[in-house]
């Protein structure tokens, strides 16, 4: 009986990691017009407990995208420098949209797995109920 539970745990870890990624994507999209904002990135890695890999997935450390910020010409902007330029954010809405779609799709796949594991456990218990 330990296997179904560990399958549930794996699926839950996948959902947790994907929702964290979705949260960062939403944060990036919200800040698409914030001057000087750098895009936030998370990479996934295998979770390690007590020095042993568990097979679960978790979101790693958040990093900032180091691509140079675009210089936008707007002399009327309060943050514009002497030449009339200010640093925008390096968020690309198109990329964030694609990223959020992918995260949603992977989340759903994990959810389907969770549901199926639960069903399998339930039908196993159904044998006892006779």
């Amino acid at each position: 009986m330990s296997e179904p539970i560990s399958a549930l745990r794996l699926a839950a870890s996948g959902m947790r990691a994907q929702s964290e990624r979705l949260r960062h994507t939403a944060e990036n999209m919200a800040n698409v017009d914030t001057p000087g904002y750098r895009r936030k990135l998370v990479t996934f890695e295998e979770a390690v407990r007590f020095g042993r890999p568990t097979g679960e997935v978790e979101a790693g450390r958040m990093r900032l995208d180091q691509t140079p910020l675009p210089q936008i010409y707007d002399p009327a902007h309060p943050m514009a420098n002497a030449e009339g330029y200010y640093a925008g954010s390096n968020v690309e809405l198109m990329i964030e949209l694609a990223d959020s779609r992918e995260a949603g799709r992977s989340y759903e796949a994990n959810l389907r797995m969770f549901e199926q594991t639960r069903q399998m456990g339930a039908s196993l218990l159904e044998i006892l109920r006779r």
């Binding site: 296997e3 992977s106 994990n110 044998i127």
Partner: protein, 128 residues
């Protein structure tokens, strides 16, 4: 007691195998976006069942001892050699969905066989 009946033993072994495979598929799907992760799978049930038991049956020196038949050896993990995406990940969600459907079908099959075997035994006991 039920271990002695071949049909139930096989259904039990299949259920065990399928539960292990479910964990492998769940792990693949959870790691669908992990860089460098290679998708894994279990060898088919037929192979692992034909190879027989690993732990030998216990010797009994008294007829009242409960016999222990030994356990099926855990099946070998195989790694997919599919085309990796740019980040080195070989998980394809579509393949995993097919595997998950297969797992569900085999699980239903093993439970169905186990249940009908139980019904057979009930019938032979004269109960419904």
């Amino acid at each position: 007691m039920f271990e002695r009946i071949e049909m139930m033993r096989m259904a039990r072994a299949m259920g065990h195998h399928v539960a292990q495979r479910q964990v492998v598929v769940a792990r693949n799907i959870a790691n669908a976006d992990t860089p460098g992760y290679r998708a894994q799978d279990l060898a088919p049930f037929e192979d692992s069942y034909r190879r027989g038991v690993e732990t030998p049956a216990l010797r009994t020196s008294n007829p009242r001892h409960i016999p222990y038949e030994g356990q099926l050896r855990p099946t070998a993990l195989t790694t997919d050699e599919a085309q990796a995406s740019p980040n080195g990940n070989t998980v394809s969600l579509e393949t995993e969905m097919v595997r998950a459907a297969e797992v569900k079908r085999q699980h239903d099959l093993s439970i169905g066989i186990y249940r009908s075997a139980l019904t057979l035994m009930r019938a032979s006991l004269g109960r419904r």
